[in-house]
């Protein structure tokens, strides 16, 4: 009686599950004639606006390429983008990468952050297709010996070096306190900064640590106050550096404040409020209006998508275009043919000249410095590039 019922229910469940699976499977499996270019980034979640921004940049590049009637291998090339959501989650990165590889994309622009780019790069490398990241800055990405990994933005080593130099030579800091948020990005940047600052002759009086979910820094800041530094460097994101600025001012710490691209945002200015005044921050690349093709690109972008550029779209645009350029030069979408060309290419993009060194890092990557003044980021200088 009861046992039999269970069996029957089990059978219905199995049938139901099979039907559901069939429904799901029917949704998958598309056919396409166009050349697929993959994009991977967070399309949902806290940094979805940045992921979407990159996706838009790639879309713009591909649409323009389609309108330009390019011929590849004797046929007219139509490009289609396959965009996948990795949610900025390191576990999702490889899954999404596998999806793109399965879909037989010719190349990938992605991912957004280093945490997903690095594990995914192994999959692209195994499949032999090119991966160009518009925004991942962790050094490890291009130091794995993969000939398929490229990036169009200066990495954390370059950024840390510029910041360390700048802190000692331009900001005149002799005693420096360093805080990082114990994330892969924050700690990586802080370590590079420390190396560069020491090499430039600065003294690191202390290293303190916090976390990506913390809002109270009073304890570590008080400890730092006791060591009397000229400058505090923070490696981490604006969600921490914003409130941190407030607490620094409240505690009466007079040291200068310097942070990396994680803090060079509008969010930082909002969260820190008045306390933001005088803070310094860096960002890889140059501000939009200083880019050779910046203004024109911004107009095109606004016209097509009806929103402002968030952050890395020009880089995504250039990444997609340099990939297409390599394919054009090789007259083929076969990675075996275009990869060597990509490695040695020199392409004039909207962000500047795109050329890669032997690791896949961009040659002459530049870093720009800004200072918060009157509720806005004021451009100070560009180093390198």
């Amino acid at each position: 009686m009861k046992e039999g019922d269970l069996s029957v229910h089990l059978k219905t469940a199995v049938v139901g599950a099979a039907a559901a699976l069939a429904l799901v499977l029917s949704g998958c499996g598309k056919k396409d004639e166009a050349i697929k270019i993959g994009h991977a980034g967070p399309l949902t979640g806290p940094v979805a606006h940045l992921g979407k921004d990159n996706e838009n940049g790639v879309r713009l590049a591909l649409d323009e390429a389609n309108a330009a009637n390019i011929m590849l291998g004797g046929k007219k090339a139509t490009f289609a983008m396959q965009s996948e959501d990795d949610q900025a989650d390191p576990k999702q990165g490889p899954i999404v990468a596998q999806k793109l590889v399965d879909a037989k994309v010719a190349g990938v622009i992605g991912h957004l952050n280093s945490g997903t780019t690095i594990p995914a790069s192994k999959i692209y490398h195994d499949a032999g297709i090119a991966q160009i990241s518009p925004s991942a800055t962790n050094v490890t990405y291009t130091h794995q010996g993969f000939k398929t990994a490229f990036r169009v933005m200066a990495n954390d080593a370059q950024q840390g070096k510029v910041l360390g130099d700048y802190a000692v030579h331009k900001l005149g800091a002799k005693n420096i306190a360093i805080i990082d948020d114990r994330s892969a990005y924050g700690q990586g940047l802080a370590d590079e900064f420390e190396k560069a600052a020491k090499a430039a002759g600065g003294q690191v009086v202390t290293r303190e640590f916090t976390g990506t979910d913390k809002t109270d820094f009073n304890a570590i800041l008080t400890s730092i106050k006791g060591k009397n530094p000229d400058l505090i460097f923070y490696g981490g994101m604006d969600s921490q550096s914003g409130p941190m600025m407030k607490q620094i001012k409240n505690l009466g710490i007079g040291a200068k404040f310097l942070t990396g691209d994680g803090g060079q945002t509008a969010e930082f200015l909002k969260l820190a409020g008045d306390a933001a005044e005088g803070a310094y921050a860096s960002s890889p690349g140059v501000p939009l209006d200083k880019m050779p093709g910046g203004k024109a690109f911004a107009e095109k972008y606004k016209a097509k998508f009806n929103i402002e550029i968030q952050l890395y779209a020009p880089y995504a645009y250039d990444a997609a275009n340099v990939l297409l350029e390599a394919m054009k030069k090789a007259d083929s979408t076969d990675p075996a043919k275009y990869l060597p060309i990509l490695a040695g290419i020199s392409y004039q993009g909207v962000t500047g000249n795109v050329a890669f060194d032997e690791n896949g890092d961009i040659k002459g990557g530049s870093i720009s410095l800004y200072q918060a003044k009157g509720g806005k980021w004021e451009y100070l200088d560009t180093v390198g590039g």
Partner: protein, 309 residues
């Protein structure tokens, strides 16, 4: 020396918040023997609701003075949280009063996740800036600094704790609560409406949580959907440290934990010669919890709970 004093002050401010939230945990545990995992989320809801009210009022440009805005927002937040606490108890905990211990614990985790997700959907994932209704002007105190808001936190927490003690010891409701905590069956026989008392406990705890949420978000100027989880954990640790089920214990535990964390994070690097640093600051709270539970499970001020198998 002034650095030391500053760390003490930091610890007291932090600890006052822990104490406020710990009171909620300890009251519920004293009566139901249940850790209300969702309590931290109620703090978060209080903070975000008050933020929304303030933003709404500022947007309408009525020209109301800032402190009045703050009070209105606080009242609304308390109201919402009280309703939330009441609902949680009714929907998720009351049906499980007779179930084995594991069940309400798991439900509590479920409620916590649910609240976090709803907050994420309503307010988004980003960190919201909380407008400073009270200008956080720092005051110098013997070489250390403390802001208006921080003083407010310490004072308000102390007042609330005193008020709660008064409620529990000098009113009928308080007597009923103490009776229910001692022995619910007999209290029922004595004419106490157990269900009402339990609901009242949750409601009062949630009101406290709302106040804590408003204070915390005002102090740091930031509020976001995940702010309740770790705060809740730490506050629970504080409650255990002081003696779960024990109101003065929660207060003492809260202040003590705040001081331990502040002094710990501030001095661990120097004390261990750089081997351990402030990146282990979270570990302190957990270590305190484990050590208290292993060596003195009744907490510092003793436990007020009858032994249950």
């Amino acid at each position: 020396m002034d650095i030391f004093l500053q760390q003490i002050l930091n610890g007291l401010v932090l600890g006052s918040v822990y104490a406020l939230v710990a009171l909620g945990y300890t009251m519920v545990y004293g009566i139901l023997g249940l850790i209300n995992f969702a309590h931290g989320e109620v703090v978060m809801v209080g903070a975000l609701v008050s933020l929304s009210v303030v933003e709404l009022l500022l947007g309408t440009n009525l020209g109301l003075p800032a402190p009045l805005l703050g009070v209105v927002a606080l009242v609304v937040a308390i109201g919402v949280c009280m309703a939330l606490g009441f609902s949680i108890e009714r929907i998720a905990y009351r049906p499980l009063r007779r179930a084995p211990r594991l069940a309400p614990l798991i439900t509590a985790i479920g409620v916590s996740i649910l609240l976090q997700t709803l907050a994420m959907l309503i307010w988004g994932r980003r960190y919201h800036t909380v407008p400073a209704l009270i200008p956080p002007t720092p005051h110098a105190v013997a070489g250390a600094t403390i802001t208006n808001v921080q003083i407010l936190i310490i004072v308000v927490s102390a007042l609330i704790m005193a008020g709660l003690m008064g409620l529990v010891h000098f009113t009928r409701l308080g007597r009923a609560m103490r009776a229910t905590a001692e022995n619910p069956v007999v209290a029922g026989l004595m004419g106490v409406n157990i269900n009402r008392i339990i609901s009242a406990t949750f409601v009062i705890g949630s009101a406290l949580a709302a106040v804590a949420g408003v204070l915390v978000s005002s102090n740091y100027g930031v509020a976001h959907y995940y702010m309740g989880f770790v705060l809740g954990l730490k506050a629970f640790t504080a409650a255990v440290l002081g003696g779960i089920g024990n109101l003065p214990g929660a207060m003492v535990g809260g202040l003590l934990l705040g001081l331990i964390e502040s002094l710990g994070a501030g001095y661990i690097g120097d004390l261990t010669g750089g081997f351990l640093g402030s990146h282990y600051q979270d570990v302190f709270a957990f270590l305190v919890l484990i050590m208290v539970l292993v060596f003195r499970p009744t907490g510092l001020l003793g436990e007020r709970l009858s032994e249950r198998a």
